[in-house]
């Protein structure tokens, strides 16, 4: 049997049908390998072995009975530990939820399991998905599979490293300001943030509700498209989930991208972008031009205000969402005689430093006297950022940019300066504010061997165009197989 790292969802399907392996064998191998190396990698916070073996057995029984297999039948998959899996722990990498058992399944988890996927474990992340390096996990950091002295990015660092490290072909992450795209770039895998509302947020523990998304990681664009198609759609449990019909992203995938107009925003190629990253992204744009696309220079004039707007909005929403962790309903509490003392000490003991920082900032900007000056102002600027994109998409089909100004950095390198860490999210935050779709696709490595991602942004619900571009680009760089092999 091939190592799981060499398999795509499509390979697994054909392997099962040909009898090369069983879903149970795959599940055992995936859990076994990931667990054996977890002390070194830090990728998983828990394994869901029994659940995985039950799911795999269902697939093997269907196969034996000659039933039609679901689109993700037998595919081992890792789920970020901010997404609910009934009966299993969902910790959000926080002491506040250390012993929390999910009371229900997220809609996205129900969807992948209905499609036959085998959930093998819950992945490490920044506490409550707040961070850009995975170093804010309350438990332990994740190591980048391309270089274990470096961070995998964040906040979905475990989900990116699970795919980049070849433990699973697919994983689910969440993206609020870049938390799928940036770790995908750092770990050399494909990561997709769908349009806001394209995938139900039911069962995703809330960080910033107007910005949170669930999305896929994969080694190939085709696999990412397959997973996205499985989890997208309306949901009676999430009124912000879009009712627009879901295309067959994988089935309709086309490498013919001739004539597509690609906006190259000037603001994304200036100061702060490391030259080596800039050169790789520029070479990527040249490849797309070679495929018949037409790059055009555009301007997104409010880009430089996006970080300020984002960090006011996301912290305001977070301070409100995290009010529920009060020592009454979840996990442990501080034993105090008075209620108010119990609240204050339970929260102080359980939240980590970055979560506290964001609660303080968010509470400040929402507090009496500052609401208009900060929160409302940030929402107005958000509208201007969104308008920049709306105008750009009147003229172009997609926008191409870097994902991050630099490749994966060393563990500990940026932890002392929170503002500098926030500033590194500049290229991903703009699309989050606008609610449009974005993805990171691998576009080469630096001279030190570190992966770099190319960001493709597309207008609301134009995921197919975005995925087609990623797919065509991937093929131009040696094809899906080559991509899958290089991703390790």
């Amino acid at each position: 049997m091939s190592p799981i790292g060499d398999l795509t969802a499509g390979n697994i399907r054909s392997g099962l049908l040909a009898g090369d392996f069983s879903a149970t064998e795959l599940a055992r191998e995936a859990v076994g390998q990931a667990r054996a190396e977890n002390d070194r990698t830090g990728v998983f916070l828990s394994f869901t072995e029994e659940r995985a073996l039950n799911a795999a057995l269902r697939v093997d029984r269907s196969l034996a009975a000659g039933e039609t297999l679901g689109p993700l039948a037998g595919v081992p998959i890792a789920v970020k530990d901010v997404i609910m899996t009934k009966g299993e722990r969902t910790t959000c990498a926080s002491r506040a939820l250390e012993n929390f058992l999910s009371p229900y399944d997220a809609t996205a988890v129900q969807a992948i399991e209905r499609a036959g996927a085998v959930v093998i474990g819950k992945t490490n992340c920044d506490e409550f998905a707040m961070g850009s390096s995975n170093e804010n996990s309350a438990f332990f950091p994740v190591r980048n599979p391309a270089d274990p002295t470096r961070v995998p990015g964040g906040s979905s660092g475990g989900s990116a490293a699970a795919v980049g490290g070849r433990y699973v072909p697919l994983s689910l992450g969440s993206d609020t300001g870049g938390s799928i795209r940036q770790p995908a770039s750092f770990c050399g895998v494909v990561g997709v943030m769908p349009t806001y509302g394209r995938v139900s947020r039911y069962g995703l523990v809330a960080f910033a509700s107007s910005l949170d998304h669930i999305g896929p990681f994969a080694r190939t664009v085709r696999d990412a498209a397959l997973l996205l198609g499985t989890i997208a759609g309306s949901d009676p449990m999430d009124s912000t989930a879009a009712t627009a019909p879901v295309p067959d992203y994988a089935g309709d995938l086309s490498a013919d991208v001739r004539g597509l107009r690609l906006g190259i925003p000037r603001e994304y190629f200036g100061e702060g972008l490391e030259p080596e990253v800039g050169n790789l992204v520029q070479a990527g744009i040249d490849s797309l031009a070679g495929l018949g696309c037409e790059p055009v220079s555009i301007s997104l004039p409010h880009t430089r205000y996006a970080i300020a707007s984002y960090y006011l909005i996301c912290t305001a929403e977070a301070s409100s969402n995290l009010a529920r962790y009060d020592g009454v309903r979840y996990s442990r509490r501080a034993d105090r005689a008075a209620l108010r003392d119990m609240y204050r000490d339970s929260r102080a003991e359980r939240f980590g430093p970055e979560v506290k920082r964001r609660i303080i900032l968010g509470t400040y900007v929402m507090s009496s006297g500052y609401y208009d000056a900060y929160y409302k102002k940030a929402q107005e600027v958000r509208a201007l950022v969104a308008r920049d994109f709306a105008r750009a998409f009147e003229d172009v089909d997609a926008i191409i940019t870097p994902v991050s100004p630099f490749p994966a950095f060393k563990l500990g390198e940026k932890t002392s300066d929170p503002l500098q860490m926030y500033l590194s999210d500049i290229y991903t935050i703009t699309g989050s504010l606008a609610g449009i779709a974005g993805m990171s696709v691998p576009c080469g490595r630096t001279s030190a061997g570190l992966p770099v991602g190319l960001q493709i942004l597309a207008n609301h619900f134009r995921e197919q165009t975005m995925l087609n571009l990623g797919h065509a680009f991937e093929i131009s760089r040696g094809g899906e197989t080559q991509q899958a092999r290089e991703a390790g």
Partner: protein, 98 residues
Amino acid sequence: MKITPDEVRHIAALANLRLSEEDTALYARDLEQILAYVDQLNELDTTGVEPMAQVLHEGNAAPLRADAPGASFDQGTALRCAPLQGAGHFKVPRVIER
């Protein structure tokens, strides 16, 4: 703008968060630095710009499902992770002094 430790204590009280003296000083410094950075938003004239509170694709309201009762998880499941429970309820320290 200068952020004093007293202001941070006030905000922390609003957020139901006890902070050590060390943390209070740290967050005063961080808050000051971050607020100085976000001040650049004031360079923009946003007169007449509608604040964007949410990404809505389908008109100005999110779709609503029918208001019909359905299955939910039971009391035991809801209480399972509570630090302290009794008689089907979450228990908290005494709120009203006699």
